[in-house]
C-alpha cells in the first residue's frame, strides 16, 4: 500500500475491522485504514461496498465485530457516537440528524453543557465567517434548504472542535454553487490541520477535492492511490470490478403524439405556500422530458399533481387528450400512467411485504391475479408475475417471499420499475430514479428508461442529478422556485450553464 504522508503520524488508524450484522450480512471483511492530519481522504465505492459502515464504526454509531481503532496511537473503544464526538470524531450523515423544529442555533448548541454556551453565538458567527458556511441562525431548520441544513450539521461538528470530520455523500442534494461553498470550506478546514473523510461514489468530486483516494468494494479496500495518479476510468474499474459504460447509448428520438400536456399549473406545498407557480409543458410519446433542479423547487409537488396525489389549484392537465385535472391516482393509473416515486421506501414499495406482494401492488385488481369474481387473489399467478420480473430485470433477491427491505436499493428500484412497466403505461413519471443506487444499478435503470422511450413510451424524468438529466433527456426544463427558468435540449446547453439555471443565477 502507498504511504502518502510519510513522516507524519496518522490521527486515526483502523485495523482489521470486520463487521457482520446480526442477520448474517458481512459488511466489512477486514479493513485497514489510516487517516492523516490535514488531508482530505476520498472514500470511494459503490453502495454496499462498506464505506458508510466503516465510517459509522469510526464515529461510534456501530460497533465492529472485530478489529480496533487507534486514535493518535492509543486504542479506543466507542460506546456511543457522543463519545467519539467528544474525542474529536464527527460524522455528517447522508440523512441529516437535525431536530427539524429547532432553529439552526438551537441545533448547533444542542446537548452542550451550559458552561460552554457563554458567547456561543459570537463563536458560531466567527466560525461561519472563517469557513464561509453561512446559515441564518434563527431560522427553523426545516425551512432551510438541504444545503443550509447540511451546513448547520457541519457547524455543529466544528463548534465541538472535531479533528476528523466525516462527510457521507455530502453533495447529493447540493446545487453546484453550494457544492463549491462546501469545497471551499473543506479546503480551509484542511489548512487548519483537520482531517476530512469524503465518502462518495461520484468520481468527478473525488478527483476534485481529495488528496488521497481509498477505493472499497464488497467490504474490502481494493485500492489506494494519491489523487495525482487517479483517473475516472481507473477508479470506475476499481469500484465496480469491471469496465463500466460511462454513457448510455441513445438513438435519436422519434417523438409521436402528445401524451401529457400541462397548462399553467399552480400547486401548493404542504405548508400552504405555492410550490408550483405556473408551469406549462408537453411530453410526446417516445421522448424523455427531463426536469432538472435542486430539490425543493417544486418538482415533488409537480410530480404529485400530475400523478393525482396533490390538488391542482389552478391550470389544467391533459393526459391522452383528456382533461384529468384533479383526477385521482387510481383512474390515472387505469388510463396508463405509471409512477416511480421519489421515495421508493415509503411510497413505491411496502418494505415489510415480500417481493410477490410488492410485485402486484396496484395491479391486484387485474383479472389475471384474481381467482374468482369475489376478488380472491390468485397467488400462483402473482408468484408467476414476480418470477417474471425477477428474471427479466435481473433482480437479486434472497427469495420471492422475503420482505423487500432485505433487497439492496438497486434491486428495490428494479422491482418497482419492473412492476410499473408491466402496466404497459403510456407515460412513466420517474422521480429521482437512481437516487442512492450504485454505479451498476444506476446504469441499468438509465438504460431501462431509454429502452422504454425507444419503445414509444413517454417518460417524465425528474432528477436533481444534472448529469443524469443531460444524458437521458431529449428535452430539458430547469425548475427553480416553482417555475421553469428554461426549456432546452441537452445539445444546446452545457452542464455548467444548467447549474447556473438551477441556482437561479441565470435566467433564460
Amino acid at each position: 500500500m502507498a504511504a502518502p504522508e510519510t513522516g507524519r503520524e496518522p490521527v486515526v488508524s483502523m485495523r482489521d475491522i470486520v463487521k457482520i450484522y446480526p442477520d448474517g450480512t458481512v459488511a466489512l471483511r477486514g479493513v485497514n485504514l489510516d487517516i492523516y492530519p490535514g488531508e482530505v481522504l476520498g472514500l470511494l465505492g459503490e453502495n454496499g461496498a462498506g464505506k458508510t459502515t466503516l465510517m459509522k464504526i469510526l464515529a461510534g454509531f456501530l460497533k465492529p465485530t472485530s478489529g480496533y481503532i487507534l486514535l493518535r496511537g492509543r486504542r479506543v473503544v466507542w460506546h456511543s457516537a457522543a463519545e467519539a464526538l467528544r474525542h474529536g470524531i464527527g460524522m455528517v450523515h447522508q440523512h441529516l440528524s437535525l431536530v427539524p423544529v429547532f432553529t439552526a442555533y438551537e441545533n448547533i448548541i444542542l446537548g452542550l453543557p451550559s458552561r460552554m454556551l457563554a458567547g456561543a453565538r459570537q463563536r458560531i458567527e466567527k466560525l461561519m465567517e472563517e469557513t464561509g458556511l453561512e446559515v441564518p441562525l434563527d431560522e427553523v431548520v426545516e425551512l432551510l434548504s438541504f444545503g443550509e441544513q447540511q451546513r448547520v450539521e457541519i457547524l455543529r461538528m466544528l463548534f465541538r472542535n472535531v479533528d476528523v470530520l466525516i462527510l457521507d455523500e455530502p453533495t447529493t442534494n447540493l446545487t453546484p454553487n453550494e457544492t463549491e461553498t462546501l469545497f471551499n470550506a473543506i479546503r480551509k478546514l484542511k489548512q487548519q490541520g483537520k482531517s476530512i473523510v469524503f465518502i462518495t461514489h461520484k468520481l468527478r468530486e473525488v478527483l476534485e477535492i481529495t488528496d488521497r483516494i481509498v477505493v472499497m468494494r464488497r467490504g474490502r479496500v481494493v485500492g489506494e492511490l494519491p489523487r495525482a495518479m487517479a483517473d475516472p476510468r481507473l477508479l470506475a474499474r476499481m469500484m465496480v470490478g469491471r469496465e463500466v459504460l460511462m454513457r448510455v447509448e441513445k438513438p435519436p428520438a422519434k417523438p409521436g403524439e402528445v401524451v401529457l400536456r400541462v397548462e399553467n399549473l399552480w400547486v401548493k406545498r404542504d405548508i400552504g405556500t405555492w410550490g408550483v407557480r405556473g408551469v406549462s409543458f408537453e411530453i410526446r410519446a417516445g421522448e424523455i422530458f427531463g426536469i432538472a433542479g435542486v430539490e425543493g423547487n417544486g418538482q415533488a409537488e409537480l410530480v404529485e399533481a400530475i400523478t393525482g396525489l396533490r390538488r391542482v389549484e389552478r391550470g389544467k392537465i391533459y393526459f391522452l387528450g383528456r382533461d384529468v385535472t384533479n383526477l385521482g391516482p387510481a383512474e390515472l393509473y387505469r388510463m396508463g400512467m405509471a409512477h416511480v416515486p421519489e421515495d421508493r421506501r415509503s411510497t413505491g414499495l411496502i418494505m415489510d411485504m415480500n417481493v410477490v406482494e410488492n410485485s402486484i401492488l396496484g395491479l391486484h385488481r387485474w383479472e389475471r391475479f384474481l381467482r374468482n369474481k369475489w376478488g380472491m387473489l390468485n397467488w400462483a399467478a402473482a408468484e408467476e408475475h414476480a418470477k417474471e420480473l425477477v428474471k427479466k430485470y435481473e433482480i437479486a433477491a434472497p427469495g420471492l417471499y422475503s420482505p423487500v427491505k432485505y433487497l439492496s436499493g438497486g434491486n428495490q428500484q428494479k422491482l418497482l420499475l419492473g412492476r410499473e412497466i408491466s402496466k404497459n403505461p403510456k407515460l412513466i413519471v420517474a422521480a429521482q430514479p437512481t437516487r442512492g443506487l450504485d454505479v451498476a444499478a444506476t446504469e441499468y435503470v438509465r438504460r431501462m428508461l431509454v429502452a422504454l422511450r425507444n419503445q414509444g413510451h413517454a417518460v417524465l424524468l425528474v432528477s436533481s442529478d444534472t448529469d443524469e438529466v443531460m444524458q437521458l433527456s431529449d428535452r430539458i426544463a430547469v425548475m427553480y422556485r416553482g417555475r421553469f427558468v428554461v426549456v432546452t435540449r441537452p445539445e444546446e446547453v452545457t452542464e455548467e450553464k444548467l447549474g447556473l439555471y438551477m441556482g437561479g443565477i441565470e435566467q433564460a
Binding site: 457522543a82 463519545e83 464526538l85 440528524s97 437535525l98 423544529v101 429547532f102 444542542l110 451550559s114 465541538r160
Partner: protein, 294 residues
C-alpha cells in the same frame, strides 16, 4: 357568609380546572420527550387513593406527597417499560387504567370497609384559605407556567424536546435519551398523581371508586389540542373548569334538563372548543415510538 356567588363560582372553576391542568401538563412533559402515557386516568385514581391513606395517617401534606410519590412510581414503571425496554407505549397505560378500576374499589372495601365511596375526614383535608379557597389551583397554574418556561426557554427544555423530536440527533450529541425520557415520564406521572390527591383530600373531600371520571382522558385530549404547550393547556383546562362549575349550578336551577346530560357539558364543550379553536397542531415527531439504536 361573606362570599358572593361570583366568588364561589370562580373557586369552583379553579378547582375543576386543577386536576385536568396538572395531568395535561405532566403528559405534555412526557410526550415532549417522546413517551406517551395513556395510563393517566389510572394514576389519578390510585394517586387519590394513596393520598387518602397517607393523609389520614400523617396529615394532608403527607397525602399530597403520597399522591406525587405513587404517581412517580407508576411513571417509573412506565419509563422502564418504554424508555429502557423499548416496549409499546400504549399497552402499559391500559394496564394501569385497568388495575386502578379494580384496585380502588377493592381497597375501599378492604381498607375503609365501604363500598363505592369514603369521606375524607376534615383533619386529613388540605387546609383552605378563608375557609373555602384551596392553594392548589394556584400551585397548578404556577407549575404550568414553570413547565412552559423550562420546556421552551432553557437548555434543559431544548434537550428534552430534542429527544421527542429526533432521538438520533439527541443521541449523537451526547444527550442521554433514555434517562431524559425516564425523568420526563416520572415527573409527568407524578403530576397526575398530585391531581388525584387534590381531588380526594382537597377539592371533593371524598374518595369514590370512579373519582377520576374520565379526567385522565380529557387531559390526554387537551395535550393534543394544546399543541403540546402548557400555556394552551391552561386555557383549555380553565374552559373545562368553567363549564364543570356551570353544570353544577345548572343542576341546582331545576332547568328540567336531566342531570346526567348536564354532567356531560364540560366534556363536550371542552372537546369541541379546543378542537375547533386551535386547528392544526404539530406533535413531537417521535412521540410514542420506541427509540432503538442500530
Amino acid at each position: 357568609m361573606p362570599e358572593s356567588a361570583a366568588l364561589i363560582f370562580a373557586v369552583g372553576v379553579l378547582n375543576a380546572m386543577t386536576p385536568i391542568l396538572l395531568t395535561a401538563v405532566g403528559e405534555i412533559i412526557a410526550e415532549r420527550a417522546g413517551v406517551v402515557n395513556i395510563g393517566l386516568e389510572g394514576i389519578i385514581m390510585i394517586g387519590a387513593m394513596a393520598a387518602t391513606m397517607a393523609a389520614e395517617g400523617f396529615g394532608p401534606l403527607a397525602g399530597l406527597l403520597a399522591g406525587i410519590g405513587v404517581g412517580a412510581l407508576l411513571g417509573l414503571l412506565h419509563a422502564v417499560l418504554t424508555a429502557y425496554l423499548k416496549g409499546d407505549h400504549v399497552i402499559p397505560g391500559i394496564g394501569v387504567n385497568t388495575l386502578a378500576l379494580g384496585l380502588v374499589p377493592f381497597m375501599l372495601i378492604v381498607y375503609w370497609g365501604s363500598a363505592g365511596q369514603h369521606t375524607v375526614p376534615r383533619y386529613a383535608q388540605v387546609p383552605k384559605i378563608a375557609g373555602y379557597i384551596s392553594p392548589m389551583p394556584f400551585i397548578a397554574i404556577l407549575i404550568a407556567v414553570a413547565a412552559w418556561y423550562i420546556l421552551f426557554k432553557t437548555p434543559t427544555g431544548l434537550k428534552l424536546r430534542s429527544v421527542g423530536e429526533n432521538p438520533v440527533a439527541a443521541d449523537t450529541v451526547g444527550i442521554l435519551v433514555e434517562r431524559t425520557q425516564a425523568v420526563a415520564v416520572v415527573v409527568g406521572a407524578a403530576l397526575a398523581g398530585l391531581a388525584g390527591a387534590f381531588m380526594s383530600i382537597d377539592w371533593l373531600g371524598v374518595l369514590t371508586k370512579e373519582i377520576a371520571a374520565g379526567r385522565g382522558f380529557i387531559a390526554l385530549a387537551l395535550v393534543v389540542f394544546s399543541n403540546w404547550n402548557p400555556l394552551w393547556a391552561l386555557g383549555g383546562a380553565l374552559l373545562f373548569g368553567t363549564f364543570d362549575s356551570l353544570s353544577q349550578w345548572l343542576k341546582v336551577l331545576h332547568t328540567g334538563i336531566p342531570d346526567t346530560l348536564i354532567n356531560t357539558l364540560p366534556y363536550v364543550v371542552t372537546l369541541i372548543a379546543v378542537a375547533g379553536v386551535l386547528g392544526r397542531v404539530q406533535p413531537p415527531r417521535h412521540a410514542g415510538i420506541p427509540y432503538r439504536r442500530e
